[in-house]
Each structure stands twice: as C-alpha cells, then as structure tokens.
Amino acid sequence: MAAHLSSGRVNLTALREAGRRELREFLDKCAGSKAIVWDEYLTGPFGLIAQYSLLKEHEVEKMFTLKPGRLPAADVKNIIFFVRPKLELMDIITENILSEDRGRSPQRDFHILFVPRRSLLCEQWLKDQGVLGSFIHKEQYSLDLIPFDGDLLSMESESAFKECYLESDQTSLYHAAKGLMTLQALYGTIPQIFGKGECARHVANMMIRMKREFPGSQNSIFPVFDTLLLLDRNVDLLTPLATQLTYEGLIDEIYGIQNTYVKLPPEKFAPKKQGEGGKDLPTEPKKLQLNSAEELYAEIRDKNFNAVGSVLSKKAKVISAAFEERHHAKTVGEIKQFVSQLPHMQAARSSLANHTSIAELIKDITTSEDFFDNLTVEQEFMSGIDTDKVNNYVEDCIAQKHPLIKILRLVCLQSVCNSGLKQKVLDHYKREIIQTYGYEHILTLNNLEKAGLLKPQTSGRNNYPTIRKTLRLWMDDVNEQNPNDISYVYSGYAPLSVRLAQLLARPGWRSIEEVLKMLPGPHFEERQQLPTGLQKKRQHGENRVTLVFFLGGVTYAEIAALRFLSQMEDGGTEYVIATTKLINGTCWIKSLMEKLEPAPF
C-alpha cells in the first residue's frame, strides 16, 4: 500500500510508520468506541498517513467535520477533536462542548489532539472559556513532514509563505525545524547544512539550538542524508510564477493536485461499453491518486508535456502486443503464464487509458491560442525581452477581464524579471487592475509588494540579466524529448532554485558568490559534528544524498528538475525534496490575496 514511499534512495516508509504508530498509541489511550471531529484541513494530509481502515481498527466509528453548534448525536464513548492549534478553531470547540447535553447518559468523554503541536496559547484559551477541564487527554500529533512520495515530503501548511514573508510569523518555520529534527532522529544527523535566505537561516539556527537542547540524545544512526539545503522561496520568486510545462506540473496548473489526488472532468473517463449508449455521462468528477506507485505515471510525470504523447503511444503498442500474446499461447504452461500476468497487464491498460484521457484534456488547453500567447509572453519576460515597458498582451487581457490571478502572475513575473518595474509602469498596471477588477484589490497589490513579487525598481539597476546569464536560467536550445538540462521543465527556463542546488553540488557556491549576493538573504554553511563511528566512508561511485527543503513552497516542475538531476548519470547527487507546501503560481498568488467581501447593503 505504501510501496511508493520505499522506492527511493531514502526509505520514507519509516517516517510514515512512525506517524502511524504515534496515531495508534493515541487512539488506544482513549479506550472504547470513538468519533473523530476533524479540522477539515487535516483530513487530506492524514489520509497520506493512515486510511480509514486503521482508524476503524481502533474503534473509530464516526467522523464529523468541525463546525459551530451542537455536536452530532453519536453513540460513542469518546469524542476526539483533531485540530490545528488555532484560536478560531478553539472557539468552535468551545461552542461544541458547551452545547453538549449534560443530561445525556452515558456521558461522552472529550479528548483533543493538536496537530502538529500542543499549544499553551490554545489551552489557556480553552481554560479561559472554562472548557479545558472537559478534556481527558490533551495530546499532540507531530505531523510535520508528511511523506508524499519516495522522494517527496511536504508539511502542507497552506499559509506558510504568507505567514513568513508577509506577517513575520515564523510558526511554520518552527514546525519545519521540528520536522527536520524528527527526520534526523529517524535517518541520522545531517552533517552538512547549506542555506540561502532569512528563513533558511532561522530554521538552521533553530535546528542547531534544538540539537544543543538535547545533548544526551546523541544520535547513533548512520546518516542517510549527506547534505541539507534550505532555500527560501523568496530567493526565487520567479519560478512559481511561470507556467509549469511538465506533465504533472500541467495537471496541477490546470486541475490542482490536492494531497496527491486530482479531480478531473468526468466526460473523458466515461466507461466505453457497448450497449450502454443511452446511459447518462457521469457527473461526479473523476478522482485519481497520482504517485509513483503507478508505473506509467512515474515514467511520464516529470517529462515535458510535449514528450508525453510519444511515450503513451509506445506504451499502447507494447500493451496491445502483450494482449496479442494470448493467441500465441499454445501449451497449458504458456496460457498459465499469460493468465498470471493478466492482472498486471489490466492495471497497465487502465492506467494507460486514464493518462491518455488526461493528456487529451491537457492538450485541448495547451493547443489553445490563449495558452500559447500567455506562454510566449512569459518566455519573453524570462529571457529578458521588453521587461521594462507595459506589455500589450497583459493590457489586452485586463481589458478583456481575464482571470485576475493570471494577470497578477504575469505582472509579477515581469516585475521579478526586471528587478522591479518603473514606477510609471507599475502604477499603470495597478490602476488598470483596480479599475477593472475592483478597488478592493488595492490590499492584494499591497501584499504582493510586501512579498517582493511586485515592486518599483528602486536601485535603478536591473540585476536579473546578470543573474540569468551567470546561472544560465534561459536556454535557447532546449530539448524537450531527451533533455540534457533542467530547463526542459519550463521549455527554456531553468528554475533558479534548482540551479542553485545544482551549482551547490558542483562546483560549489564559491563560484557564484557575486550572484548569491544579489539574491535576498544571507547564504551560509553549517556543519553538525558526527561521532567518529558514524562518519561516512563513501564507496566509489556512490551518490551523495541531498535533502532540499523549500521554505514557502515548491512546484512540481522544480521537483521534476531535481529528479532529473538525481537521474543524471554523472550527477553524483540524489535529491529528496521537502517543502512547507506543494504550490503552483495560481494557488500561491491566491494565498497572498486579501479576501475582502463588501458588507451587503
């Protein structure tokens, strides 16, 4: 069931198992039948740790969503709240508890499980409301880094970027540091830490501090990771703004992947069975899980979308050839062998059908004129063409009131590729936007400015061309089919963040000191002492393992680029990726928008 987690260089099943164990232990503390009241945001991430069946085994009979008012009736002994430590949620819980019927018998026992950490603040809050005493068990479930795939961990902390860069609230960084400590407890102390950015510095400081706080817990596990690279998202604001062009990236851009699941329009997935012509098409969206457990998906997810079609058609031929084999099977032995392979072949066939449908859906969009125009402008900006003037296409899009987020992505992209816009250009865009989409967006624009996504060019100098050239961010001769450089993930643009990781591995950051200074925040290196017995004697040809932690989010295209580097034959480094949240430009910008709804008149 969790085989995809152990497929990589680092077996992440151990992390998941640790999570499951902790969950079981908590559930068993509350003896008897139980109902769980969920902070809705947690259900997705929890699904990656434990399915409903595990909960059921531990006498969880009912599940509710946390909402104000009275708790639903349920004939269970225990009511357990699974919540993030947020005051808004504490208020709802308080309401739930106060409206519980005191007269009912038997009385239900209340428990609270804070995810990922117990909070004195929340407990004090509950105490002030007079309900803290109602809870028998108050525990925490340190779900910091959730394994998404064999080489991918995410905290799924929705607002981490906004909190860190807009609100100076470093809570998620504290959780990140804690998560890294848990990871080190399971996979050994990471001897080298590199980082770039304010947040990275803060996380590294906390890790070092936490290590000092528990000097006795000398880790005796042989280190699995050689290096940790902490990267602030604001070191590379550009990458998430550009449209991802890998298969997985496009699925996320267009349909949004949530906790490895995607919901797709159902029409293309209608079962093609004869004699059911009159049957209605399904109306429920088709829900698919996307991870490396699916062989075909693992093969195509990180390819440039233009290279996916040929793989699919090749696969189709292989599969139909395999099915043809049955005509050649003559002896009983041959038939038996054929039959034994059937389930695998059928799974491959249905996987192929699914991805062919998805590819068709995506193709409809990528071949549209608007997609093409948008991409052209993006690529012009990224390659440094006309970034200092008002762009016609952007103006036209505003005039036609295209979706606001699309506009914001383009304008921010232009600003980032020009180290800020000339005041006149910036004001023009802003005026166009608020006149077209409403004055309330002045606050959103202000947020984007605070985050550095949109800014006036202050120094009068545009650093981006230097950065672009030194880091080779724009590659004209990109090969989408058989890539030789990471720039294939954006058909020309090589993600800055990944380039930094690549250059760190070889030849080292010393070669790019100048550019590093142009990027925001300090860059640093720390070493964590290992006991002599644990120091690695590297076998010849053995790859190093680097954990790249994106503070503030990472896109699927960046992940694809890092996977590409892992697979390079002479790369010498394999990457595991961790992040506060898996993002794309749309959901990222959305998280920065101020939600203002006018009061009804």
Binding site: Q170, G216, E597
Partner: protein, 838 residues
C-alpha cells in the same frame, strides 16, 4: 570443609545457616520489647518508637521516633508529638507509615521528615484501631486495620487511596486470635482465626476454611504466617502443631509437631525461591525453631529479645546487639561446600587451591572434572556460589576458582563471570557497615539496580550512587544524570548557603550532563521560596522552552518573553505576550512589544483575528500610515454597512495614504470614493445594483442597459485608456447583441485596438455575418487569422499567398478538409511549391 561448620541440617537434603550481618551500632537504653518497631524488607531501615506506651506524658518521657539503618546507625530522630501510634510500617518506596489509634496514617521519609497524611475513614475513627498490618502487593503498599468493633478495613494502595470495608466476621464479640492479609488472584483478602475456626474474608463474604490434612487433634490456632509471595500459609496451634500448605488451602505441604505449647511470639516463612524444602521459623522469647516437613527441627537458643524480618530468600533476625541472616543453603553452595562433596564445583575449588600451593594435585583434580566433561558446569557452579557468600574472602576464592577453570575451556562466554564480579562489587559496597543495606544476591536481582539506586538517593548517598552508575556504565540519562538531579534538588533546600554558592555548586557538579533538567531543579528551588536561586539555575537550562513557564510563574515575564523568542516556538511567545497583556498596563505592554519585533508581529496577527481595534493602536504607535490606510480600507468593507460610513472610512484611508506618501494609493482611494458616490446615484436612478461593481463592470452594465452617455462620462472621468475602453465597449455590445451600435462605434474613429478584436468578439457570439464586415478592415498581418476565424478559407489562402508566408499557408492548410476545400488546397500547394523552388 571449613565453610560448612555453621550449617544445620533439616531433613536429608537441606541445610540452614545463620550468619551475622552486623553487630548493631545502636546503643539502646531500653529493651526492644518496650518499643514499637518496624523493619523494612530488602535490607531496609528500622524504625523505633520509644516510650509509646507510657501513659504519663512528662517532658522527659515523650515518645521519640528514631530511624536506623540495618546496621543500627542512626539516620534521624524526632520527638513524637502526634497521637497514639498503634503500628509502624514501611512502604515499598521506604517511607514510614505511622498508623495512629484514630485511623489517621502519617507518612514520613527515612529522615523523619513529614510528607503527608491520610485517614482510614470515619468508621475507624469512631471505633479506633485495634491492630494494623502494612502489606505489599503489585498494586503498591497497603494498610489493613482491625477496628475496636472487630471489623476490617483496608486500602490496597496508599498512593491511590480507596478504602474497602471487609465483610463482617462470624463473631463480633471478641477479636480473632490471629490474622493476616492474603493476596489471591489480584484481590486482597483477610485470613483470620478464632479458636479452632479459620475464615477467609473478602468484600462480600466470609467463608470458613478447612486446611486439607489438618491433624484432628490440632487444637486452636495461635499464630499464622503468610509467605513473602503470598503463595503459602503456615498455621500454629495450641497443641504445638504446625500445618503448612498453599494459601488456596487446596494442598498440604507438610506438618510438624513440637512439644512447645506456649504461644510463639512470631512465626515467618523461611524459604528460598525454587527450594524443595518449605520451612517456617518460629520465635519465642528465648528460643528459635526452624521446622519443615521433617521429623526433626533445628533449634537455636536466643540470648536476648530478637525480631524476625522475612525476606524473599530467608529471614533476618535482629536484636539489641546483632543482626543476623538465617537462610537455606542454596544448591550451588551445598554442592561445593558439603563435606566430602565430589561435585565439579567442589573439585574445581580444590584444584585451584592446590594450584596456588603449586601442587601437582591441581592437575589431578582438574583432569577428574575434565574427564567427566563437567568443567563448564564447575565454573558455572563456582560463579553462582560466589553470589551466595557474604564474606569477600570466600567470594574471591570461588571466583578465582571459576577464573582458573575458565582457562581450560575453549568456549565459555565471559559474561556471567564479569557480571558476577560487578554485582558482588556493588553488593559488597552497599553491605558495608556505613551504608548498611544487607541485600542478598537474590534480593538485589529482584529489586533491580534502578530501585537500588533510588534507595541510595533516598539515603542521600549520592557519591556512592554515582560511583555505581559509572562502574556499571549505566547510560547517563538513566544513571548519573538522574542522581545528580536528585542531589541538586536536595541541595537547593540547604538554606544556610547563598544563592550564588548553591547555583555555582550545582552547575559545577552538573555541568551540561545530558538529561539534566535545570528547570526542574529551579522549580524545586522556587517551591522552597528561593526565587533568585531559581532564576540563576534557569540560566543553565539550555531548553528555553522549559524556562518560560517557570519564569511566568515567578512573574519574570519580560525575561520569559526573551527566552520564548529565543526558542523560536511561536506558541510560547504568544503565551507570554498574552500573559504580559494581562499583567502590564497598555502603555507598558506596547513599549515592551516595541523592543521585541518578533513578539510584536505575532501580537499583530493575534489582533487581526481577535481584536482589530487594537491593531489600529499598534499601527498608530509606530506611525505606520501605510498599514493604517490599509486598516481603514479593510474597515470600509468589513464593518461599515452604510454608504456614509464606508466613505468616511475610505476618507480616513486617503489621509493615511497621503501621510505615508503613497500618492498612488491615496488617489486610487479617492477615485474609489468618487465611484462609490456615482454608483450610489446610479443605483437610485436606475434601480439596479451598481454598488461594489468594479469600474469596468459598472461601465459594462451601463452599456448593456444602453446608457452609452453615462458610460462615456465615466470613461472620461476616470481617464480610462482608449484601448481598454474599446475592448470593454465592444465586448459589452456584443454581449447584448447591439450590432448596429457596434458598427457605429467602429466607425466613430480609427480603432486603437485594430479590427481583429471585432472579428473575434463577433465570432465568439456566433455572428459570422457581422464578423465578416470587420475582417476586411483588419491590418494585413492579421488578415489570415481573421479570415480563418470567419471561416473564409479561400480569402485566408489568398492573403497567405500574398504574404508569401509558408507558416501562414500551413496554418490555412491545417484548417482545410480535403473534400470540401479541394480548390483552396490545390492553390496553397501550388504556392508552396513555388516558394520552395526559389
């Protein structure tokens, strides 16, 4: 052999030995029989309460409670000022229980420091305690009481007090002649005897018991004994008859008859685990008897009053002058030391002795063992027997023999030998007269090293405990750290030393030993009223998270705040901030935050969600006009309902934006006010919702409603760029299908956006006819695209050919279907061929 001179045989197979542990260091003026006494098992301390029975309470003869080590060294004493004590007893954690007549139980530690007290309930208070017993089970230490009304009450665990009243006895007229606590199937019950009757009492019933195989002439019960593990019971009757059997009364183990009719003072079991012999020790004033299921018994004469302390592998006997241990000789020792024994261990011991004498007999003995292939067994026997000996010399000679034998073995894991050496070293150290914990090897193993260390800590023998930890190489967290922490907690209570001295002494000893919690020690110091010391100690705590709660408790909130920030744990910061908010006045509170940006931004977040008005004050304090402007904009949406209110809020925002020198935002907000007013008017004039539409949507609605004049007016007033207005206008016109107006508009002046958008928008609203009108006006570069859009492939092809553009030709070709557009296809192919030729 020399070692067996003090062995006393009981039956064929077993021997008993009585050996001295200590000669008692106490110098008691009074007879033991005049004192109330309790000795803790596992070589524990002895408590004496003197003068307890005297009725006259003259100052010179007040009761005194004294506690001694098992070697009779005084640990502590106090004058007893509480009530009449009926019974003393020790808990499993070596606390002293003093059970008073009124049923209250006082708990002291072994330094006579009062810890707490509890009561055995009202019934006991009314009827008084007649007799009491302290007992130990897996649930902890329990107390059983026989009241003056001849009823039993008991508590199984004094740390989790649940009082149980037992079922009534068959006769409430007189007290039972003897009784004891039994523990069966995880339930505590009472076994009692009155005359010739025997009963088992539990909560709900009282059952008469008949011991199987009891002699018919047995007579009345005088005394009973329950074994250490609650498995066996022995009964003594007035005919001098002893019955021994299982506590379930299903099986008889043996019986013995003697001619002593006098009631014995004490009777206890004396058996070692896994022994075949079951024996009891019976004590009278001057006589001690060991009796088993045999014809004969062992008798000793007692020179003075002696008291019995049952242990799991024997019985300790102490008196005013000495402390002895009486036990059955374990098998390994018997094998080796029995006279003329030919057991392999005995031979090995002899071989080694001869070897030391440099006699060749050594080889003969050794060969004899090796011939029988018993060398490994012999070594094992010597190692085991060493554990049973108290004399270091004997231990050594046995271990030497084992070590000697080991040399001749190829494969013998050294572990058991090394372990035994270590264990004996620990045991010899704690048996030392000064320490006075006479544990046997079996007791030590049962107790475990962890508990032993706890007991040393309880006796404040920190250096020895640490030495042992280091010697046994226990992990620091389990061993040394724990002991140091205990030591430190004790140290902070020493009031005669200055805070500075104590803090330094503690830090010097503890350093940053892993697993030490300075905050715990600081907590203890604070409990003792030494706040300054606590703060000093907290400085050594590396985990700032641990420092914060205590600092808050001690009202050092500002220090707590900086520690919380250091930890990086925002939850801690929040906690301290809200604490400060309640503690300080507003001005002070804000000032404090001002110096802590991390705390300030977190508090802002808190205010955003919980109290927005405070947010304004915070921004005001920093003169943050930009944020104040944003705040007012927010207010105009979130909290103002009336138009005037909204405008007022926005006007505030404008002012703030100007102060912030954010001209753009100020102007934009002024525009917004203007738009709001216009919308308000429109809404009233046209009776349609206009409020809170964007400027774009407002104009669009106006056009849809045919109010072209007003739309035009807004366009001018808000200086909308021409291009955008044209897009907006044609989109809206197409949406409402006003093609006539669109055509008029297209001719009003030259389009700033060209004519392709006209074509596109017409096609979008499925009006090809209209689209075609504009296709012709499209600039040449976009003609091909325009014609394709309107579906006129022929013209598209012409345009492409005219441009001589191959890519455009392919574009058109791609749109052609060969059947219908054959002529176009042919035309294009021809043109392409021509280009290729060139």
């Amino acid at each position: 052999m020399a070692c067996s001179w003090n062995w006393n045989p009981l039956g064929e197979q077993t021997f008993y030995r009585r050996s001295e542990l200590y000669s008692m260091a106490w110098d008691l003026a009074e007879e033991l029989r005049d004192c109330l006494m309790a000795a803790a098992p596992y070589g524990g301390p002895i408590a004496l309460l003197k003068n307890n029975w005297r009725k006259e309470k003259s100052p010179g003869s007040r009761p005194v409670l004294e506690i001694y080590s098992a070697a009779g060294l005084p640990l502590a004493s106090i004058v007893w000022k509480s009530g009449q004590v009926v019974q003393l007893g020790w808990t499993a954690s070596e606390d002293l229980l003093c059970i008073q007549e009124d049923g209250s139980v006082l708990i002291y530690n072994l330094f006579c420091e009062f810890k707490r007290h509890f009561s055995m309930g009202n019934e006991v208070l009314q009827n008084h305690v007649l007799e009491a017993r302290v007992f130990h089970t897996e649930y902890g230490t329990g107390v059983a009481i026989l009241t003056g009304a001849h009823r039993f009450s008991l508590a199984t665990n004094i740390d989790d007090l649940k009082l149980r009243r037992m079922h009534d006895m068959p006769s409430l007229q007189k007290p039972p002649s003897c009784w004891a606590v039994l523990f069966q199937d995880r339930v505590t019950v009472i076994l009692l005897a009155t005359g010739q009757e025997l009963y088992l009492l539990d909560n709900t019933s009282c059952n008469a018991m008949t011991p199987p195989g009891l002699s018919p002439q047995a007579g009345a019960y005088l005394q009973m004994a329950v074994s250490f593990n609650y498995r066996y019971v022995a009964l003594y009757t007035d005919t001098g008859y002893i019955w021994m059997g299982t506590a379930t009364f299903k099986e008889k183990l043996g019986e013995f008859s003697c001619d002593i009719r006098a009631p014995p003072r004490e009777m206890v079991w004396c058996a070692r685990p896994r022994s075949k012999q079951r024996a009891v020790v019976v004590a009278w004033d001057r006589r001690l008897m060991v009796a088993g299921n045999t014809e004969e018994c062992i008798q000793f004469v007692l020179d003075e009053d002696s008291y019995l302390v049952p242990e799991l592998d024997g019985v300790r006997i102490f008196s005013r002058t000495s402390h002895e241990f009486l036990h059955e000789i374990p098998e390994a020792s018997q094998e080796i030391f029995r006279i003329a024994s030919m057991a392999p261990g005995a031979l090995l011991l002899e071989a080694q002795k001869q070897y030391e004498k440099e006699s060749q007999k050594a080889d003969e003995y050794l060969r004899e063992i090796k011939d029988k292939e018993q060398l490994s067994e012999a070594v094992q026997q010597c190692i085991e027997a060493a554990g049973y000996e108290h004399e270091p010399e004997t231990q050594k000679s046995l271990l030497r023999a084992a070590s000697f034998g080991k040399c001749f073995l190829d494969r013998f894991s050294p572990e058991s030998f090394v372990r035994m050496c270590q264990d004996l070293r620990v045991l010899n150290a704690i048996r030392d007269y000064q320490i006075g914990i006479p544990l046997t090897f079996a007791q030590y193993k049962q107790l475990t090293i962890e508990v032993l260390l706890d007991r040393l800590v309880l006796r404040r023998l920190y250096p020895l405990a640490i030495k042992i930890c280091e010697y046994l190489r226990l992990s620091e967290i389990q061993g040394v750290s724990r002991i140091l922490a205990h030591w430190a907690c004790y140290k902070v209570q020493q009031k005669d030393k200055s805070d500075e001295e104590v803090a330094q002494a503690i830090n010097q000893k503890l350093g940053d030993t892993p697993g030490i919690s300075y905050s715990e020690i600081a907590g203890r110091a604070y409990e003792c009223g030494r706040t300054e010391l606590a703060i000093k100690l907290l400085e050594y705590e590396p985990r700032s998270g641990e420092q914060v709660p205590l600092l808050l408790k001690m009202k050092r909130s500002k220090l707590a705040l900086s520690k919380a920030i250091e930890s990086g744990d925002t939850d801690l910061v929040y906690t301290v901030v809200l604490h400060l908010k309640n503690e300080l006045n507003r001005g002070n509170f804000f000032m404090t935050l001002q110096n802590q940006p991390v705390a300030l931004s977190l508090y802002r977040q808190f205010c955003k969600h919980q109290e927005r008005e405070t947010l304004k004050d915070l921004y005001n304090q920093d003169d943050n006009h930009q944020e104040l402007g944003n705040f007012h904009v927010h207010t105009s949406y979130a909290s103002e309902k009336r138009i005037e209110g909204r405008v007022a809020a926005l006007q505030n925002a404008v002012d703030e934006y100007y102060k912030a020198k954010n001209e753009f935002a100020a102007k934009a907000t002024e525009d917004q006010i203007k738009l709001l007013r216009i919308q308000h008017r429109l809404q009233e004039d046209l009776d349609k919702p206009y409020l809170d539409c964007s400027l774009h949507d407002t104009i669009s609605h106006l056009i849809l409603d045919g109010k072209h004049k007003r739309a035009e007016q807004l366009y001018r007033e808000f200086k909308i760029p021409d291009k955008r207005f044209w897009w907006l206008k044609i989109s809206s016109l197409a949406e409402c299908g006003d093609w006539e107006e669109m055509e008029k508009f297209s001719k009003s002046k030259k389009s700033p956006i060209g004519y392709l958008p006209f074509v596109e928008i017409c096609v979008k609203y499925h009006n090809r006819h209209e689209a075609k009108k504009y296709a012709a006006r499209v600039v040449p570069e976009q003609k091909v695209k325009a014609f394709i859009l309107v579906g006129d492939l022929d013209q598209a092809a012409d345009a492409a050919i005219e441009h001589k553009s191959e890519s455009e030709m392919s574009l058109v070709l791609a749109k052609c279907s060969p059947a219908i557009d054959a002529t176009v296809v042919e035309k294009l192919n021809r043109a392409r061929a021509q280009i290729l030729k060139k």
